[in-house]
Amino acid sequence: MLDSKIPSGSIEQKWKNRKFESKLVNPSNRRKHTVIVVGTGLAGASAAATLGELGYKVKVFTFHESPRRAHSIAAQGGINAAKNYQNDGDSVYRLFYDTIKGGDFRAREANVYRLAELSVNIIDQCVAQGVPFAREYGGTLTNRSFGGTQVSRTFYAKGQTGQQLLLGAYSSLMRQSGEKSVEIFPRQEMVDVIVIGGKARGIVARNLVTGELQSHLADAVVLATGGYGNVFFLSTNAKQSNATAAWRAHKRGAYFANPCFTQIHPTCVPVSGDYQSKLTLMSESLRNDGRVWVPMKVGDKRAPNEIPESERDYFLERMYPSFGNLVPRDIASRAAKRMCDEGRGVGATGLSVYMDFRDAIQRLGNTVVSEKYGNLFQMYEKITDENPYKVPMRIFPAVHYTMGGLWVDYNLMSTIPGLFVAGEANFSDHGANRLGASALMQGLADGYFVVPYSIANYLGGEKLSAVKQEQDEVKSAIADSQERLNGFMKIKGSQSVDEIHRKLGKIMWEHCGMARNEKGLNDAIKLIQKLKDEFSNDIRIPGDTRLNSELEKANRVADFLELGELMCIDALNRKESCGGHFREEMQTPEGEALRDDQNFSYVAAWEHTGKTPTLHKEALTFENIHLAQRSYK
């Protein structure tokens, strides 16, 4: 049985109790402990900076050339916090409630409550760092709304909130680098975790410039390596975002939880051709003012501005009058898909719907609209060559975020003692669907406030033996990775790695995307197994092992293939619909997700065995929020 180590006490007391019970490490002893942090997005940079400030010896690894390039930088819309600055009825409890409900009752209550509690500290911290959040004329912070809530609690810096928050965390990290408490290893990719005596004691990193593998030893390892949306090839994730660090940890004993919980974001720029390398998100904040619609008539090919008001179907407003355009992402995505399935989709392919700013521009004027969304409108125009001030945007759902991830207990520790997982890389806070503007909140809550306590609690309570580079476990971890990389180079087939990756993406999108069913998932598993063979017999990596993007991709795609299969296995096992996981066999008469709390109110944590993975269950109990069918009508 998995022990989630949830502290005792009422939901309001749990985090306080844990902090008080927590073991500590004396300030003068902290420098004797080395902590490795992998990844420098919001979770990694904030954790590394904070651990450095506390006095630990920190080593930070990123495959990027600079910590500032991590994909958190691309988050657009904002960050939630229960400040209730708008006096509209917000509270820690309401943010907790909204997040549990938004996640369709598949998240752990205690973690989510802590997240809501910490949200207010995050905003204070970021403001103190000089993050230029949007302000009112009087100088106070301003807010906007995001999906799945009826209050305004989202803080933002234009459409570049992720950038500004990451640069804040990065500036703290660089300050520690200047003070020599943190050492940064750029262009170094983690390829394995070193487990000695059952505990995580270091990593193997590959220097992407020289191609060399090197081991780094430590007393604890923190993975903050992001999500795995790129399994689908086309997603809003950055091109290099990958699951390799998490997957290698999984293969060394860390359970992978709820891998089938992926978020398909409703508002992305639609796919335009086969050559396309990625999809671009149009921030959810646009749904504050953009109205989503399709023509009433099937096959209406008129230009959008020629379709009169009476012949437009503002389907989100019609179907969900109390939340309107701001329903949660999974619901908006499925509704858009339904419109396209009915033949009312627009654009050349029929696979898009309109998001229209005409009314907002009439009400507020071009200047105000451009102040709020200028950079997003500009981004849209660059991609599509269409001006959204004049014609409605065309949008379609795309893979955006993964709620699943490595299983962690309340202290964010995985099933490998000493291996902590933070941010999108873990599974813990968003259940089966993440609400908008909550990813930034979770990354920073984990990094600034949870990981530092958890590390102290772990190191304060463990007697760790000394480890050496010459030990067998270290040498064999390096040898394993070397062999694997050499293997890729030797294949000398006929396809580029991207070609295989695109095929994987198509299988996943078709069978494990917005709608899933038993037959499709079984087919997908077979197709992926075949594709694995194709990969290991037919990829080609010309050149040497120094700075070679093809070798980097092969190393990542090999893991995506295995993870993709596990996602299908998990989706097959979960015979219910919840949040982003929609099993066609399980829906209400209106086509909404139908949960099965009797049988599936659990976290599915998978153990790697080399053959069929073993399922472990963590039961989810809801002591504070009443389990109910989600309704946004």
């Binding site: 400030e53 410039v209 660059k382 010309p542 050149g543 993007s549 093809e550």
Partner: protein, 247 residues
């Protein structure tokens, strides 16, 4: 569309590089510039030739990874556009396009079109921050900042650290990059306590990294994909002067 490419190939920092010619026959006008390079690379790999190495990641113009001198301009011909947001529709059928890495002494070439821009990180480590440990922060609304000041700070903070300013400058000066960060914090009350130390140390580190001097031609501003304004440099100079007379 058919495009003729002249691409800089260089195996390592110590080896000599050279231009090589490539032809892309089936470029589509809706492709992004980087997708066109993906397309070329797929072709090269199938033929067993080494893929062209270039830095890229978000492909949304925000991470600052992509670089490239395209026909002599950092990030290509479009103003206010990073290479990843440049589309092939901005070129004509039959065009010849010259693609080079960003060139500056402080940005050594690693391979092909990839350069090392960690000098920027070291400048940041020298002073590009407000010293506030996690947990030290006061309540957010206790620091009032007027809307206009916040927006001006945001405009400076929009820098993506791509290095186009350095690549565009005949002296390979990093003044625009440094001034954007100095400005953001000089404008905000949170940055005031350390303003003198910050500007001195960041400028000192910039010089140490072998970036050149600024001669105010404004090439950096013209090349900047985020249109960071020259006003920031004026502010940096004021901050330097202020630091020298007050301390």
């Amino acid at each position: 569309m058919k495009l003729n490419l002249k691409i800089w190939r260089q195996k390592s920092p110590s080896e000599q590089g050279q231009f090589k010619d490539y032809v892309v026959n089936n470029a589509n006008e809706d492709m992004s510039f980087l997708e066109m390079l993906d397309f070329l690379n797929m072709d090269l790999v199938r033929k067993g030739e080494e893929a062209v190495q270039f830095d890229h990641d978000c492909r949304e113009g925000i991470c600052g990874s992509c670089s490239l001198m395209i026909n002599g301009s950092p990030h290509g011909p479009e103003t206010g556009t990073a290479t990843c947001q440049l589309h092939i529709r901005k070129f004509k059928d039959g065009d010849t396009i010259v693609i080079e890495p960003f060139r500056a002494k402080a940005f050594p070439v690693l391979r092909d079109l990839c350069v090392d821009r960690t000098a920027f990180d070291r400048i940041m480590a020298a002073g590009g921050f407000c010293s506030v440990n996690t947990g030290n922060a006061p309540e957010a609304n206790s620091i009032l900042i007027g809307k206009e000041v916040a927006e001006n700070a945001m405009d400076s903070a929009a820098c993506i650290g791509c290095g186009a300013c350095v690549a565009a400058c005949k002296n390979a000066s990093a003044m625009l990059f440094v001034s954007a960060k100095v400005s953001q914090f000089a404008l905000l009350p949170q940055g005031k306590p350390e303003r003198s130390r910050r500007v001195r140390q960041m400028v000192a580190q910039m010089d140490k990294e072998m970036f050149g001097s600024c001669s105010n031609t404004g090439a950096c501003e013209a090349a900047c994909p985020k249109e960071i304004s020259l006003e920031n440099m004026a502010r940096l100079n004021r901050e330097m002067l202020r630091a020298s007379v007050t301390e």
